[in-house]
């Protein structure tokens, strides 16, 4: 069956000219950070309508998960949001743990927190670097801040490499715990890295916020109201930038997050600058959580189900759960329906980027083409997670 033919909705604004132009932005556009096509309807430089075309990176994760066991899928889960791979693994294994009531040892919970927070910092670094590079020349010659951010992200990837052996996609989480314990000396090098990054974030802030071009491109651009934010379902820094104090680590704590002290930053302006401010505070809060977790790291086993002998050994009893974690981009959720076998009956990814990207058609009309780049960057979509 094919979809009924429907004329796409056009937003009419007051316009007295006669020219209307349809322009493709993408599928390969450097500011998209992935494959995303926006079909823009323009009147002069002003966008009056946008039709988003996604799905270029669809790899049928949900169908695939029905064919893979609970032991096999976590390392595939990391390929949904490949910029914050730890988070998607986290959501998936937690869903299985919640349904199966599998216990997770305290040490594993802390290790999960440490890696998830380092991952958030790494992901935010990539966001800051690429976003500022997109707005390019305005920031004093293009790639400066990008290279700085990548340099810092590299330090975190080094930490992950010495922990897991992989730099981008980890397979660190398993149902019942984590796969590896930290090697000797890791905690010290982690502390050093955290201190270095903490210092440099202040440097970036000065660099950017004293730059009138950056401020002009970020302030008052892409404003999202609270009502719109909730109705579309955007989450994470976008939602907090629109004045909602909602962080799952605080609202629906998991994996011992209640043991740590941290602030939930909220901004009320709802523009690109507000989202930038929220993320800049989150950097520091994440680093604070890593320090606390390293200080309080308990001794003990790292998994309640060590020594798996076959991939089908983990069986999850009949049941269903929706489990969510606060990822770098917002609420990363996994709705899992288990039928008692070694594979899920149905698994749904609630990708934070998918919902966040859905805000674009609501906020872009009325802006100039150049603002799309700033808005896209502030939304921080990862197309692996949008298309799944």
């Amino acid at each position: 069956m094919s979809a009924p033919t429907v004329t796409p909705k056009r937003v009419e604004l007051d316009y007295t000219g006669s020219e209307r132009l349809t322009m493709n932005m993408g599928p390969q556009h450097p500011s998209a950070h992935g494959v995303f096509r926006a079909v823009l309807t323009l009147e002069g430089e002003t966008v009056i309508d946008v039709d988003s075309v996604i799905g270029y990176l669809h790899r049928c994760h949900e169908k695939l998960s029905e064919t893979l066991t609970y032991a096999q899928y976590p390392s595939i889960a990391s390929k949904t949001d490949y910029v914050a791979a730890m988070t998607s693994e986290f959501a998936y294994v937690r869903a299985a743990e919640v349904i199966g009531k599998f216990e997770v040892p305290k040490r594993a919970q802390y290790l999960r927190v440490i890696t998830a927070e380092l991952q958030r910092v790494a992901s935010h670094l990539l966001w800051l670097g690429t976003w500022c590079m997109d707005m390019g020349g305005a920031l004093g010659g293009g790639a400066t801040i990008f290279l700085y951010c990548i340099r810092e992200r590299e330090l975190i990837l080094d930490l992950f490499e010495s922990l897991v052996g992989a730099r981008l996609l980890y397979g660190f989480f398993q149902v019942g715990g984590v796969r590896y314990d930290i090697p000797s000396g890791w905690a010290d090098s982690c502390r050093q890295t955290v201190d270095v990054i903490d210092q440099r974030i202040s440097e970036y802030e000065r660099m950017l916020e004293n730059n009138p071009f950056f401020m002009a491109r970020a302030q008052g651009v892409g404003v999202i109201s609270r009502e719109l934010a909730e109705s579309v379902g955007i989450s994470g820094p976008l939602l907090r930038g629109s004045g909602v104090a909602w962080d799952l680590r605080r609202a629906d704590p998991y994996s011992s997050y209640e043991d740590f002290e941290f602030k939930v930053p909220v901004e009320t302006a709802g523009d690109c600058f507000a989202r930038y401010r929220v993320r800049m505070v989150e950097f520091r809060e994440s680093l604070k959580i890593v320090r606390q977790a390293l200080d309080k790291l308990p001794e003990g086993p790292i998994s309640s189900r060590p020594g798996l002998k076959s991939v089908a050994q983990t069986r999850v009893p009949k049941g269903e759960a929706y489990v969510r974690v606060e990822g770098a981009r917002g609420e990363v959720g996994c709705y899992l329906v288990a039928d008692g076998s070694a594979k899920p009956y149905r698994m749904k990814w609630r990708g934070a980027s998918f919902s966040n990207l859905a805000i674009l058609p609501h906020i872009i009309p009325g802006h100039k083409v150049a603002d799309i780049v700033a808005i896209m960057g502030s939304v921080d979509p990862v197309f692996g997670e949008v298309d799944r």
Binding site: A3, H58, E230, S231, G233, W246, Y335, R346
Partner: protein, 150 residues
């Protein structure tokens, strides 16, 4: 409002609903009441945050549409469900209530072939326009051949 009050209110207003749990509250309503229930969740339970919409294929028992919404002020979580019945793949759209349902219903149409009645722009979203079939149905084999990429 607390979760218990929300539960009681659902039971009072939608007497036919099956209600289970408190966090999230799982409520199954009939398809006829679907839009009214979504509006009630948004306006009266103040569950304004739209998390996701999806479906589950229960084979002979038919399709089930699942929606998760949250009240962020009072921390109430609501999982709304409706069973479409065997062989039925039409469901009313809740897009007038939640803007986020736009893309989610398109995805659900794409993957399960559910026609959301009242959706103004029901096209495929993740798969190509010329794709044959709806992959997340249990009747769609994993190794179904697909047309060559254009």
């Amino acid at each position: 409002m607390t979760s218990d009050q929300a539960r009681a209110l659902i039971a009072e207003r939608f007497s036919g609903a099956q209600i289970d749990g408190t966090y999230p509250i799982t409520a199954t309503v009939s398809t006829d009441q679907w839009v009214a229930f979504a509006r009630f969740a948004s306006d009266e339970l103040r569950c304004r945050f739209f998390s996701f919409l999806t479906a589950v294929d229960w084979k002979d028992l038919g399709l089930e549409v699942v929606v998760r919404v949250d009240n962020l002020d009072d921390n109430i979580a609501l999982l709304m469900k409706t069973r479409l019945g065997p062989g039925v793949s039409v469901c009313p759209s809740i897009m007038p209530v939640y803007k986020g349902a736009n893309w989610m219903e398109r995805e659900c149409y794409d993957m399960f072939g559910i026609h959301f009645d009242g959706h103004p722009d029901l096209r495929r979203i993740l798969l190509t326009d010329d794709w044959v079939g709806h992959p997340l149905l249990k009747s769609y084999a994993v190794d179904t051949p697909h047309p060559p990429y254009r």
